[in-house]
């Protein structure tokens, strides 16, 4: 079935057995992001030490795509330098905005390339991006608490450049 491109086995595995889940101490910043149209929510903590993402922990509620994405994202960025992790975020965002035209570089994005199929479903792109946006926001706050207060996320916590699909 066509949906298999979205519901890759690797995504369903992360959904059933999420990695790094649960809120942990210590942390430098905590954020709460929601997707108001479908009720997905994530509370996410970041610990940064010497320019490296030391830990990402989270509690989240949502669909299989958003849950799996949080698992894949945290596994991918933990242990990376902040700059490298931010580069991954940009790469993942580009993949999600490709509307099914990009495959993603598996050497860089690893398990996250499994979400390439999700980009064909505009309504679901926000699900895949929720935890990434939360991580980016939390990391900005962790790295520079003063600067981050002036750059709060959108009220909805959703990226502005993703099309609004579902009318409340």
């Amino acid at each position: 079935m066509k949906l298999d491109s979205m519901y890759q086995e690797i995504i369903l595995d992360h959904y059933r057995n999420p990695l790094h889940r649960g809120l942990r101490d210590p942390f430098d910043a905590e954020v709460h992001h929601v997707n108001p149209t479908c009720g997905d929510e994530v509370t996410l903590r970041v610990k940064v030490s010497d320019g490296v993402v030391e830990d990402v922990s989270y509690e989240s509620e949502g669909c299989s795509i958003s849950q799996a994405s949080a698992s894949v994202m945290s596994d991918l960025v933990i242990g990376k330098k902040v700059d490298e992790a931010l580069e991954l975020e940009r790469e993942f965002l580009a993949l999600m905005q490709s509307r099914g035209t990009a495959e993603g570089n598996e050497d860089v994005l690893e398990d996250a390339v499994a979400f390439a199929g999700v980009s064909k479903y505009p309504a679901r792109v926000k699900c895949a991006l929720l935890s990434w946006m939360a991580w980016k926001d939390a990391t900005a706050k962790a790295v520079d608490p003063a600067a981050a207060t002036g750059a709060a996320p959108t009220p909805a916590g959703a990226p502005l450049d993703v099309p609004e699909q579902e009318k409340p």
């Binding site: 066509k2 949906l3 979205m6 479908c38 009720g39 997905d40 009318k167």
Partner: protein
């Protein structure tokens, strides 16, 4: 215009003669396919209804033959356009049992109708003594229910914030009904306005309006009813309901988007301050100040949504010809059938009344996999869409209800006059498929 000709030729309206297959022929979109060649199973009418040909024809005819601005100009087109616009006011009044056409105010939708009342109340502070009834301030209370759509919740939160009044609400029972045990304690003589939903968009519950209105009257509070999900589905008589205001929207009752209605008792509208200022709502304007037109025009500032109002008139004609009692009977039967059918899907939790008593055709539920783990509605909706089945997933603009029942979201199937038992069967088969997929 002979808007109902095709309808009358196409079937015999009336409870006994209600023929859903015949009705479906009036809705071109129901014949389309999705995902290449799957028939469309549209179970999202609580979000918006589909439109019959008669409504589409009326809007097109308006633009092809009569388009002009209303209530101004003395040429032929202006008079025709005004005639069509005002004819809908008569039709809507008759449709809801209002005896006075001046009680029907056209708005953009239910949301705007409800905001109109809320803003009129805060504007009353700076209006003359005649608006006393609408004044609200610190110490006063606004009462709503826990099952309100955000459109009948947020405007009252905003009014409370603007005026210093307190917002209170009637809670829910576990089976999705209003908990009236402490009604007298929630609605006290401090209540200035009681606003509630007639039929819940998420739970399907039809509320006991009479009981709440009786209590509101005892304490002298204004009463507002959100009829967004009731007016399209059942016969409505504002006199029998006994409320002061009724808000509803066209697009859920086979009319175009962009038009809604606020009905209000004339003696109240007469002293109610305006919400939006502008052209058409005035009497005399000077640079120093203005006086306002009588209702309904006081509340219809600016060029209105003329073609949509004409479409609403055609929708009212269409529904009236079929007969609202027959439509209600059909939907009641479908709702009962669907509740029975959903009971055959293992571990499915209905969020809302489990029976078809005092309940409309919007059924929310949470599906679980074989391991008993909830399958998120977003995933359910996606897999159903793959089969051509359109349902709504999310919190349905009633997030407090989801919080009350401890779920992040629900899947909702909702019905209308054109829904068939075959479509319910397709839904149930689809849900079995979703369970299989996530139980792998």
């Amino acid at each position: 215009m002979t808007l109902t000709e095709s309808l009358v030729a196409g079937g015999t309206p009336g409870a006994a003669g209600f023929d859903v297959e015949q009705v479906r022929k009036d809705f071109p979109i129901l014949a389309r396919t999705v995902h290449d060649d799957l028939p469309l199973v549209y179970l999202d009418s609580a979000a918006t209804s589909q439109k019959p040909l008669a409504v589409l024809d009326a809007e097109r005819a308006y633009y092809e033959l009569h388009n002009a601005n209303v209530h101004r100009g003395i040429h032929v087109l202006a008079e025709e356009a005004t005639g069509l616009y005002e004819a809908t006011r008569d039709k809507v009044a008759a449709f809801i049992g209002a005896t006075d056409r001046r009680e029907v105010v056209f708005t953009k939708n239910s949301t705007e109708a409800l905001n109109l009342v809320a803003y009129a109340m805060s504007n009353a502070e700076t209006t003359g003594a005649e608006a006393q009834r609408f004044r609200i301030g610190p110490g006063d209370e606004i009462v709503i229910t826990e099952m309100e759509h955000h459109s009948n919740l947020v405007p009252w939160q905003m009014l409370a914030r603007r005026t210093g009044a307190t917002l209170r609400w009637i809670g829910l029972t576990d089976d999705g009904r209003l908990n009236l045990d402490n009604l007298d304690a929630v609605i006290t003589d401090r209540a200035k306005v009681v606003s509630m939903v007639h039929q819940s968009n998420i739970l399907g519950t039809v509320n006991p309006v009479a009981r709440i209105v009786a209590r509101a009257r005892e304490v002298g509070a204004l009463t507002v009813l959100d009829g967004s999900q009731s007016v399209p589905h059942m016969p409505i008589d504002v006199a029998a309901l006994g409320v002061d205001f009724l808000a509803f929207t066209g697009h859920k009752m086979c009319a175009p988007t962009g038009v809604g209605v606020l009905w209000g008792r004339h003696e109240l509208l007469e002293v109610m301050p305006p919400f939006l200022g502008g052209g058409e709502m005035i009497e005399i304007v000077t640079m120093e100040g203005s006086t306002y037109a009588a209702p309904p025009h006081r509340f219809e500032a600016g060029t209105p949504m003329i073609s949509q109002v004409v479409g609403l008139g055609a929708a009212v004609d269409y529904l009236t010809a079929l007969g609202m009692p027959a439509i209600a009977e059909h939907e009641h039967a479908i709702t009962g059938y669907a509740l029975d059918a959903l009971a055959t899907v293992p571990a499915t939790r209905i969020i809302g009344p489990p029976t078809d008593i005092d309940r409309g055709g919007a059924i929310s539920f949470v599906l679980h996999d074989d391991a008993g783990r909830a399958i998120h509605p977003h995933d359910v909706g996606q897999l159903l869409d793959e089969r051509g089945i359109a349902v709504r997933v999310g919190h349905h603009c009633a997030r407090p209800v989801c919080l009350r029942f401890g779920v992040p979201a629900t899947t909702r199937a909702s019905f209308h006059l054109y829904t068939t038992t075959g479509e319910v069967d397709a839904l149930v088969e689809g849900l079995h498929g979703v369970r299989r997929f996530f139980s792998r």
